[in-house]
């Protein structure tokens, strides 16, 4: 384990970014989101949750897949370049890291998504412990330890220092590249901070949320429940929950017409939108109740059914913070446990 003084972090960012693309939580116009580090980036490690999750660094909201160009009535198709250089994601939290595990299940299983795979292979994650978990956090319910998130490097802010420990070869390499700025440290130095975080986690309002009754076997029972009828009503049918979610992985593929061809691109889609999974025959979900139900059934029933019981929620609580109608996955889970009582 090594440590670096907080006041020297700017030096660390400079050093890393001289060699690799470095993505950091950055404050812009009052909000913190991941951004490429540059000379005038305002790095913000104090905000617990970026508005959009770190998902976008591996699975961008929009990306070009290939270009088609017409010259003299002949088409040329060029695939968009895959990520081929290492990049660093600094400050990713435990929940977002778990979100990537969920995405891996989707994009790295057959047929493998080459765009995603290239980013995963080239991405180096420096995971930051959550010193002050917030009331909307419930990652522990999904087995995340926010005090010890296993990225390629685990980083912990404690006192005047940022402590870093490598968990993988990639992590060790990055730490050795930065050795000129760090000094040796002992794990015992962060033990108190970790114990303090563990105590706070127990006091979080959702710490004891029970997922009993949610697994891949309850499709019929949950799907047909009358509870959805009431739950969906406040929903505005916007895409906020899906776009801030670290695990929502649905996308749309579209054409952008250029002067002499098209750009085939994909962009995040939202099951809350009326054109979601629109096909030639029409749409298979025609009401907001159906769309709302789809989102939570996917996270808590369909996904575990297809992925050895893994839920596609990681408890980051962004939907709790951001849903403009205050409808969220916690309320869904709680509403069903009331029904059982």
């Amino acid at each position: 384990m090594v440590k670096i003084k907080r006041e020297n972090l700017a030096e660390l960012y400079k050093l890393i970014s001289a060699e690799k693309s470095l993505f950091v939580p950055a404050k812009k116009a009052g909000q913190t989101n991941y951004a490429l580090y540059g000379a005038d980036t305002e790095v913000d490690l104090d905000t617990l949750k970026t508005v959009k999750s770190a998902k976008e660094l591996f699975f961008p909201q929009s990306e070009t897949l290939y270009n088609v160009k017409t010259v003299d009535n002949k088409y040329t198709v060029t695939q968009a370049e895959l990520q081929n250089e290492e990049f660093v994601v600094f400050g990713i939290r435990g929940c977002d890291l778990k979100g990537i595990e969920v995405l891996d299940k989707v994009f790295l299983s057959d047929p493998v998504d080459s765009f995603y795979k290239a980013r995963r292979e080239n991405g180096i994650t420096v995971a930051l412990s959550c010193n002050e978990p917030e009331e909307s956090c419930f990652c522990t319910v999904f087995g995340v330890d926010p005090a010890d998130a296993k990225g390629d490097i685990t980083a912990t802010l404690c006192g005047e220092y940022l402590y870093m420990k490598a968990n993988t070869e990639k992590g060790e390499k990055l730490l050795s590249d930065c050795a000129s700025l760090t000094e040796a440290a002992d794990e015992s130095e962060v033990a108190d901070e970790k114990a303090k975080i563990a105590e706070i986690l127990k006091k979080l309002p959702y710490a004891n949320l029970s997922l009993e009754g949610w697994d891949g076997t309850v499709t019929e029972e949950k799907f047909n429940s009358p509870v959805w009828e009431e739950l969906y009503k406040p929903c505005l049918a916007c895409g906020t929950c899906t776009f801030v979610c670290p695990t929502c992985q649905c996308y749309d593929i579209k054409d952008y017409k250029t002067a002499n061809g098209i750009q085939k691109y994909r962009c995040w889609d939202s099951c809350m939108y009326s054109d979601f999974t629109m096909m030639a025959h029409g749409n298979n979900r025609t009401s907001q109740l159906q769309r709302f139900r789809q989102r939570f059934m996917h996270k808590l029933v369909y996904f575990p059914a297809n992925n050895d019981g893994m839920y596609s929620c990681v408890g980051c609580g962004r939907c709790v913070d951001k849903c403009p109608a205050s409808a969220n996955i916690i309320k869904v889970i709680k509403a069903f446990s009331k029904e059982v009582d």
């Binding site: 116009a29 009331e135 979080l204 505005l236 916007c238 899906t242 409808a327």
Partner: protein
């Protein structure tokens, strides 16, 4: 709050209403949700406090399709939106019983969190019956005191007033919350150079994630199918690549609601990226006031708006008053 519940129970008992459109207690101190209460018994979960900022007017578009009469709770500013929806034939006046409720300013949890307050486990002082001018925010990291005014939504600082523009009956008193200049934000932008304006809007709008929360919450955005949801033309409505697209979306939307926007402020309240979207609408409102005389959309449900009415006194497009 008990006063509201008692009155609603009475209306149920008298058979005057079939349901109530109001707010249901959340599971955190600040997250009540919009809810239909189908019986007097269901009102046990009813809440009306400082965090009930949601404007219920637009929910009555769906509510108008339900059987019987829905009692709707409207704050003074919400009634402007409701009038506008009546004018546009989007809600059915016959199917709604409007209870105009008092308001002492609504709170913005994002404003409280932006003060660095985190781990919120309780908030005291947001109750509608509480005359206090200070909130006690209980957190995992100790109690914090916040002046009620400092935690209010922007729109409450420029409150349109305590009068309800439409109602069947009134309940509870309102408080004066106006302490700001409604057009100060617009004036400040108008004073910028073109380059600075461009920079300001690019910076703000580049945060947009195309979630459509602003559009979907907007009572003036009541088209059955938005042009941006059309699959008949390419609008890249979900692609978030170029601030130009995001800017176009917001500018087109602002044009579309010009003259109909009541400045209810819901767009800015719901934006997950904190974009001050109300500034676009206020610019239009300011210009309309200048060009056609003072006008407030939703003051009544009958009068034609300045952009849908022609008079011989109208200014020429090229002149500026």
């Amino acid at each position: 709050m008990q006063e509201i519940i008692s009155r609603l129970e009475q209306l149920f008992a008298e058979g005057k209403i079939n349901r109530v459109l109001g707010w249901k207690k959340g599971d955190l101190a600040y997250n009540p949700e919009v809810s239909y209460f189908e019986s007097a018994e269901a009102l046990k979960d009813f809440v009306y406090d400082g965090f009930c900022g949601a404007n219920l007017s637009k929910y009555m578009i769906q509510g108008s399709a339900l059987e019987g009469v829905t009692a709707i709770l409207l704050k003074p500013c919400d009634t402007y939106s409701f009038n506008q929806l009546i004018k546009e034939h989007r809600v059915d006046r016959e199917k709604v019983y409007i209870i105009g409720i008092g308001c002492k300013g609504k709170l913005n949890i994002e404003t409280i969190k932006a003060m660095g307050i985190k781990g919120i486990t309780g908030i005291k002082g947001a109750e509608i019956d509480c005359a206090c001018d200070e909130l006690t925010v209980e957190t995992l990291y100790g109690d914090k005191k916040v002046a009620y005014k400092d935690a209010m939504l922007e729109r409450c600082h420029v409150c349109k007033g305590k009068e309800h523009m439409i109602y069947d009956e009134l309940l509870l008193e309102s408080a004066d919350t106006l302490d700001g200049d409604r057009f100060a934000g617009v004036d400040a932008i108008e004073a910028l150079s073109p380059e600075e304006k461009f920079e300001f809007f690019r910076k703000e709008l580049s945060k947009c994630i195309r979630c459509n929360a602003c559009r979907n919450v907007c009572p003036a955005c009541s088209c059955r199918k938005c042009v941006f949801d059309s699959n008949k033309f390419d609008s890249e409505q979900k692609a978030n690549v170029d601030p130009f697209n995001e800017s176009m979306f917001h500018i087109i939307r602002a044009f579309h609601v010009a003259g109909r926007c009541t400045d209810c402020g819901e767009c800015s309240r719901v934006c997950p990226q904190g974009i001050p979207l109300h500034l676009f609408n206020r610019k239009f409102i300011k210009d309309i006031n200048e060009y056609y005389g003072d006008f407030i959309a939703g003051e009544n449900a009958e009068e034609k708006g300045p952009l849908t009415n022609f008079t011989l006194d109208d200014m020429e497009a090229s002149e500026r008053r």
